[in-house]
C-alpha cells in the first residue's frame, strides 16, 4: 500500500466530490427540500455509484497486477463478443442501442470495453519483439483499437466510439510517426476551414471562395513544410516555396486589380505542380518519403473536393444544418444550436464566484439539456463560477500530468502503454466534453469523467484508473524480482 500513488487517489476523490456536488445541483428540483441521499433522486443514486466505485477500486487494488496481463486477451475477446451482442440485447434509449438492462440497472458495455482494449493493446505492444514501425505490428494495433470502435458505432453510440481515437495519442508516444497525427489534424483543419469559409469571398472578389483559397494555401504550405522536415534538400524547398507563393500572390493581385477571376485554379495548379515535382523527386532519388508527401497533398485535395460534394450533394438538409450550426455559420437558437447556446448562458451567468451551491437557475430549470450527464460542466460553471471551473480543469490537468509521470516510471512497456491509454482517454473526454459545453468543439455526447451522472461511466473510469494504479504499485516488485 505504501507504493500506491496517493496523489492520484486524492485527485480522484476530489473530482468525485466535486462531481457529486454538481450532480446534486443539476438534478435538484425546487421543493425537494434537499435530501440528496434519497435513492429515488439522481444525487442519491450517484452516491451508490461512488461508494460502489470505491469498493470496486479496493477490489482492483487487491488483485495481483500480473493477472491483468494474463487475462488481457481473454478480457478483450470477451468484451468484443459482448459489444457484438449488445445491440441485440439492448433496449432503445433515445436511438442508442448500447444499454443492457440487468435487473433495475442499465449498464453500457462500451464504457468497460475501454479498459479491456487498453489492457489488450498494452499487452500486445508490450511484447519484446513489438516494433511499431513494422507495418504489420502497427496494423494489428490499429485493428485492436478500430474493432471495438466499429462495434460501438453499430450500437449507434458514435460519441463513445470516437473516444478510441485517443489511443492514437498513446501510439504517438510509442513511436508512431508524428506525420500520422499531423495528417489527421490536417484533415480536420482542411475540412473545417473549407466548409466554414466556403460562402465567404476573399478580399471582396466575388469569384473566389475564401474557404477554398485557405484550404489550398494550407495544403501547399503543409506540403512544403513536410518537404522541409522530411528531406535534407534546402534549395529546392525554398524554390518551390518561392515559386508557389509568387504565383499565388501574382494571381491574387491580378484578380483584385485587373480582371477578377477564380485564383483557386492557379493554386490548384501550384499544388498539382508540387505533387508532380515530388513524384519526380521520389523516382529520381528513390526516396519513398517524397511519394508519401505527394500522397498527403493528393489526399488533402481529394478530401477537400469530397467534403464539398458531401456537404452540398450527399447530406440531407438537416444534417447540413447541423454541421453549419456547429461551425458557427448559422444561428439556430431553437434547434441544433439550442444546447450550446443554453450551455453558454448557464456558464456565462456564473461570473467569478458562481451563484452558489444549488442556486443555479438555468440548470435547475432544465434550460440546459443533458445537464447531469454530458452537460454537467454547466452546473459547475453556473454554481461555482470561474473559480470552480478553474479548480476542476486544473485538477484534471494535474491528474493527466501525474499519470504521464506515473506511466513514464513504469519498468515495462506494457505498464507505460496502459498508463498512456488511460491518460489519453481522460484527456480526450475532458477535451471534447468541456470544449463542447464551451462551444469550442462539436457536440459529441461523451461524459465528463467522475462528474457526469451514471454508474457505467464512473465504473469504467474507475476500473481504467485503478488497474493502472495497481500496476504502478507493483512496479518496484517487478524491478526487485528482476534484480533477484
Amino acid at each position: 500500500m505504501a507504493s500506491l500513488d496517493w496523489v492520484t487517489i486524492v485527485i480522484y476523490i476530489a473530482l468525485l466530490a466535486l462531481g457529486w456536488m454538481s450532480v446534486c445541483g443539476a438534478t435538484y428540483d425546487f421543493g425537494q427540500e434537499g435530501n440528496f441521499f434519497d435513492l429515488s433522486t439522481r444525487s442519491g443514486m450517484q452516491i451508490v455509484w461512488i461508494v460502489s466505485s470505491f469498493l470496486l477500486a479496493s477490489v482492483l487494488l487487491g488483485i495481483d497486477e500480473r493477472y491483468y496481463d494474463t487475462f488481457a486477451y481473454v478480457l478483450y475477446l470477451g468484451f468484443m463478443v459482448l459489444l457484438l451482442v449488445t445491440p441485440f440485447l439492448a433496449h432503445d434509449i433515445k436511438g442508442s442501442m448500447s444499454w443492457i438492462k440487468i435487473g433495475k440497472f442499465s449498464l453500457q458495455p462500451a464504457e468497460f470495453a475501454k479498459f479491456a482494449t487498453a489492457l489488450c493493446v498494452a499487452k500486445y505492444m508490450g511484447t519484446n519483439d513489438f516494433d511499431i514501425s513494422k507495418r504489420l505490428h502497427f496494423l494489428v494495433t490499429c485493428v485492436l483499437v478500430l474493432l471495438p470502435m466499429g462495434l460501438i458505432i453499430m450500437q449507434k453510440e458514435t460519441g463513445s466510439a470516437l473516444v478510441y481515437f485517443a489511443f492514437f495519442l498513446m501510439f504517438y508516444r510509442e513511436g508512431m510517426p508524428g506525420a500520422i497525427l499531423f495528417t489527421g489534424f490536417s484533415a480536420v483543419v482542411f475540412f473545417i476551414v473549407g466548409v466554414r469559409f466556403s460562402e465567404t469571398s476573399l478580399w471582396g472578389i466575388q469569384a473566389i471562395s475564401l474557404g477554398r483559397f485557405l484550404v489550398f494555401l494550407l495544403i501547399w504550405l503543409f506540403t512544403v513544410g513536410l518537404m522541409r522536415v522530411y528531406s535534407n534538400l534546402f534549395a529546392p524547398v525554398l524554390r518551390v516555396f518561392a515559386y508557389g507563393g509568387g504565383l499565388t500572390l501574382a494571381a491574387l493581385f491580378f484578380s483584385k486589380f485587373v480582371i477578377p477571376f477564380d485564383i483557386t485554379w492557379v493554386q490548384l495548379g501550384v499544388c498539382v505542380g508540387l505533387i508532380v515535382y515530388l513524384l519526380f523527386l521520389a523516382v529520381k532519388h528513390h526516396v519513398a518519403r517524397y511519394a508519401y508527401i505527394a500522397l498527403f497533398a493528393i489526399g488533402a485535395l481529394t478530401l477537400h473536393y469530397s467534403a464539398d460534394h458531401l456537404l452540398n450533394h450527399t447530406l440531407q438538409a438537416h444534417q447540413r444544418t447541423r454541421i453549419r450550426v456547429l461551425l458557427g455559420m448559422e444561428d439556430d437558437p431553437r434547434g441544433v444550436g439550442y444546447n450550446v447556446i443554453q450551455a453558454k448562458i448557464a456558464i456565462g451567468s456564473g461570473g467569478l464566484r458562481g451563484k452558489g451551491f444549488l442556486n443555479g437557475t438555468q440548470t435547475k430549470l432544465k434550460y440546459v439539456p443533458e445537464q447531469e450527464t454530458d452537460f454537467i460542466f454547466c452546473t459547475v460553471g453556473e454554481e461555482e463560477g470561474f473559480l470552480g471551473c478553474a479548480v476542476v480543469l486544473l485538477l484534471f490537468l494535474f491528474l493527466i500530468l501525474r499519470l504521464i509521470h506515473l506511466a513514464e516510471r513504469q519498468p515495462y512497456a506494457s505498464g507505460r502503454i496502459y498508463g498512456y491509454c488511460v491518460l489519453s482517454i481522460f484527456l480526450f473526454h475532458v477535451f471534447i466534453n468541456v470544449g463542447m459545453v464551451l462551444g469550442l468543439t462539436p457536440v459529441i455526447g461523451i461524459p465528463l469523467p467522475f462528474f457526469s451522472y451514471g454508474g457505467s461511466s464512473l465504473w469504467g473510469f474507475t476500473i481504467l484508473l485503478f488497474i493502472f494504479l495497481r500496476m504502478d504499485a507493483g512496479r518496484n516488485r517487478f524491478v526487485n524480482n528482476r534484480a533477484n
Binding site: 508516444r173 453558454k344 456565462g348 430549470l365 432544465k366 470561474f386
Partner: protein
C-alpha cells in the same frame, strides 16, 4: 527499450498538449464568465417570470353611500396548445358564439411568434378576453370537453346606474403615451380614461404586486424565486366617496333628456358638487369590456358630442345671470349704491347704440333691477365704471379692475375641479380689447359684457359657482366631485375659502335682488312655501334660438344648494332654466319631489328641443 528512450521526449509533447487545452479553456471561460453581462441577463430572462398581480381597483359610492362603481368578475379564456387534443372545434365555437374562421385565425395569431413573442405551447395563452358571466356560462358547462382550455378570472369595471357617465368616466387599455409618461404601466394595463376614473387614477389603481416565478425550459412554473422573498403583494386601490347625490343626478339627467346643456349643483358651504349633468349623456355601462372600443367610436362620431362634458367644457355666454357679478362689482367700486337708479326705456340708448330691454317701471334701484333683469341699468353701470377717469386713469385701468373682480369670482380660469378637461371660459381684459378694437375703445364698445353677452363666456360650473359664492356672501370653495378618499385626507385645495373682492354687505343687496326675482320677478315659478329660493334667470342671446339659463340657491339664509341650469336654445330663462333649477332644489332640500313637481318633471323630461343635425 531503445525505442522507448528514443521517443520519451514525446511525453512533453503530450503534457504540453494537455496544458494548452486547459489554458485555452480557461481563457474561454474567462471571456464567457467575466467579460460580459449578456449571459447573466439572458439567464435571468430565461428563468425569471415576473408575474404581475393586479390590485382591485377602488370602488365609488355617492354622498349617501350608494354604490356607483365596482369591479365585476370577467373571464379570460386561456389555451395551452400542447394539451389541446380531440377538441370538438365546432362545439367549442358554438359555446363561445364564434365562427370557425375566427377560431382558426385566433389560433394562428397565438402561434405567430411575431405577434405573440412570449408564445410557448406549454403555457396558457390568451384565447378570448373579458367574457361576461352570461357569455361565459354556456362555455363553463362544457369546459371539461375541451382539454387544454382554461379560465382566468379578471375584473372589469361595473357601473350600477346608467347615469353620471361624465363624472365617473371609464377605464381602457393604456396608450403608448401613458406608458411613456409613467413607467408604472405596461402594455395591456388599464387606466382611467375620463372623469374621476382618470383624475383619481393614482388613488383608484392601487399598487401592482409582483411575484417572481421560476420558469423552466418548457415555460412551466416551478415555484417562487427564493420562496417569495422578493415578491410584493398588490395593494388594493382606495375607495372613493363622491359628493354626487345619484338621485339628484338622475333627476337632472331625466330633465335634460332630449335637450343639450348642463345642470350643475354645488353645496355652497363645502364646494361639493351635488350633481353635474351634461346632456346628451350615455350609459357608462357600454364603456366596459370588449364592446368599449366600438362604442367609444360611435360616441366620438356622434354630432351631438355626447362625450363632451358640457358642465366643464361647454363655454357659454352666461346672459343675465352675469348681472349679479356686475352689481357686486359696481357696488364694491362705488359706481352705484343700492339706491342708485338708471333710466331704462326699453333698453340702453346711447347715440346710435341700443341695448334692448323689456318693458318695466323706470327708473328703478338695484334690487328691483335684478328682479326684473333690466339690461339698461347694468349697461349704464359699466359705462360709468369704464368711463370714470377720476377713479381709473385710463379705460384700460378700469377694465383691468373689472377683470380682477371677475377673476376673483372664479371666472376666466379653470376653477380646478377634480375632473379632467375643465375649460377656462373667457373674461376679456384690456389687452384683449386693445388688440381687437385698437387703443381707442371705451365702455360703449364693450357694453354687452355687462349683461353677460359679447366676449364673456362661462362654463356651467362657473355659473353654478357664482351661485355658491353669492349664497356664501363672498367666497367659494373650489368645486369638487370627490368627497372622501379612503384612508387619505382630501386635497387641501378643496377646503380653502376663496374670497372675492366684494364685501359681504354688497352680497346681501344682490341676495335681496335674487330673492325679489323669485318672489315677484323673472323667477317667480321657482317660488315655494317650503324655503326661500333666490334666483336669477338668463336668456343668452345666440345666433339661433336663445339659451335658457338659471342660476340660484336656497334656502336664502342657510344655503344648502346652489344651482346653474343651461339649456341650449331653450329660449327664455323662465322656460327651462327656472323650473329645472326649482325641481333640483326641491329634490335635494326636501329629499323628494311633491306629486305636482313630479308631474312637472315628467312633462319636462318628455319635451325635446330640435337641434337639427349640425355638429354642436
Amino acid at each position: 527499450m531503445e525505442n522507448d528512450r528514443h521517443f520519451s521526449n514525446r511525453k512533453y509533447v503530450l503534457g504540453i498538449m494537455a496544458t494548452l487545452i486547459v489554458v485555452v479553456y480557461l481563457v474561454r471561460l474567462f471571456t464567457l464568465q467575466l467579460m460580459s453581462d449578456d449571459f447573466k441577463r439572458n439567464a435571468d430572462s430565461n428563468a425569471f417570470l415576473k408575474r404581475i398581480q393586479f390590485p382591485a381597483r377602488g370602488a365609488m359610492r355617492d354622498r349617501t353611500g350608494k354604490l356607483l362603481v365596482y369591479n365585476q368578475p370577467a373571464y379570460d379564456i386561456m389555451v395551452v396548445m400542447s394539451e389541446m387534443q380531440d377538441v370538438d372545434t365546432l362545439d367549442l365555437c358554438q359555446s363561445l358564439g364564434i365562427t370557425r374562421e375566427i377560431f382558426d385565425r385566433r389560433m394562428e395569431e397565438i402561434r405567430d411568434r411575431n405577434r405573440n413573442p412570449g408564445y410557448s405551447s406549454y403555457t396558457q395563452q390568451l384565447f378570448m378576453n373579458q367574457l361576461s358571466a352570461e357569455e361565459f356560462s354556456t362555455f363553463q358547462e362544457k369546459l371539461f370537453r375541451f382539454p387544454g382550455f382554461y379560465i382566468q378570472k379578471r375584473t372589469i369595471r361595473q357601473y350600477v346606474y346608467p347615469n353620471a357617465a361624465h363624472i365617473l368616466g371609464d377605464v381602457g387599455e393604456v396608450s403608448p403615451a401613458d406608458i411613456e409618461a409613467d413607467d408604472y404601466y405596461q402594455s395591456g394595463d388599464y387606466i382611467g380614461k375620463l372623469g374621476v376614473e382618470r383624475s383619481y387614477e393614482r388613488q383608484l389603481r392601487g399598487e401592482k404586486g409582483v411575484e417572481i416565478l421560476l420558469r423552466d425550459a418548457r415555460g412551466r412554473i416551478k415555484g417562487n424565486y427564493q420562496h417569495g422573498k422578493f415578491d410584493r403583494s398588490p395593494i388594493p386601490g382606495k375607495n372613493l366617496t363622491l359628493s354626487i347625490d345619484i338621485e339628484l343626478q338622475q333627476l337632472g339627467e331625466r330633465l335634460m333628456q332630449g335637450k343639450l346643456g348642463s345642470i350643475v349643483a354645488i353645496e355652497p358651504a363645502t364646494g361639493e358638487v351635488l350633481c353635474m349633468v351634461s346632456s346628451p349623456t350615455y350609459d357608462p355601462r357600454i364603456m366596459v369590456g370588449r364592446q368599449r372600443g366600438r362604442n367609444n367610436r360611435i360616441l366620438t362620431a356622434d354630432p351631438m358630442k355626447p362625450l363632451l362634458n358640457r358642465a366643464i367644457m361647454g363655454q357659454y355666454p352666461p346672459g343675465s345671470t352675469f348681472k349679479t357679478s356686475q352689481a357686486l362689482t359696481f357696488l364694491e367700486e362705488g359706481i352705484i349704491t343700492p339706491q342708485t337708479t338708471y333710466p331704462c326705456s326699453h333698453g340702453f340708448h346711447f347715440g346710435r347704440l341700443t341695448v334692448g330691454c323689456h318693458g318695466h317701471a323706470s327708473p328703478i334701484p338695484l334690487v328691483p333691477t335684478i328682479a326684473t333683469s333690466c339690461n339698461g341699468y347694468f349697461c349704464w353701470g359699466l359705462y360709468y365704471m369704464l368711463g370714470n377717469r377720476k377713479k381709473y386713469p385710463t379705460v384700460q385701468d378700469a377694465m383691468t379692475t373689472w377683470k380682477d373682480y371677475m377673476v376673483s369670482m372664479g371666472f376666466g380660469y379653470p376653477l380646478g375641479i377634480d375632473l379632467p378637461g375643465e375649460k377656462r371660459g373667457l373674461i376679456p381684459n384690456a389687452d384683449f380689447y386693445d388688440k381687437h378694437l385698437g387703443k381707442s375703445w371705451n365702455g360703449l364698445s364693450v357694453i354687452s359684457i355687462a349683461i353677460g353677452q359679447g366676449e364673456v363666456n362661462l362654463t356651467p360650473l362657473q355659473i353654478a359657482n357664482l351661485g355658491a359664492t353669492i349664497a356664501n356672501r363672498g367666497y367659494y370653495i373650489t368645486p369638487h366631485v370627490v368627497k372622501e378618499v379612503q384612508g387619505e385626507p382630501l386635497d387641501s385645495i378643496y377646503k380653502i375659502r376663496h374670497y372675492t373682492k366684494v364685501s359681504k354687505p354688497n352680497y346681501e343687496v344682490v341676495v335681496a335682488g335674487m330673492r325679489q326675482a323669485v318672489i315677484g320677478g323673472t323667477c317667480h315659478a321657482a317660488n315655494n312655501s317650503w324655503y326661500e329660493v333666490c334666483g336669477k334667470t338668463g336668456t343668452a342671446q345666440n345666433r339661433g334660438h336663445d339659451h335658457s339659463v338659471f342660476m340660484g340657491f336656497a334656502p336664502k339664509d342657510d344655503p344648502k344648494i346652489a344651482v346653474a341650469v343651461y339649456v341650449e336654445n331653450g329660449g327664455w330663462g323662465a322656460t327651462y332654466g327656472v323650473p329645472f333649477g326649482a325641481l333640483i332644489m326641491e329634490k335635494y332640500i326636501n329629499g323628494e319631489l311633491s306629486p305636482a313637481s313630479e308631474e312637472k318633471a315628467e312633462a319636462f323630461a318628455n319635451r325635446t328641443i330640435n337641434y337639427g343635425s349640425t355638429e354642436r
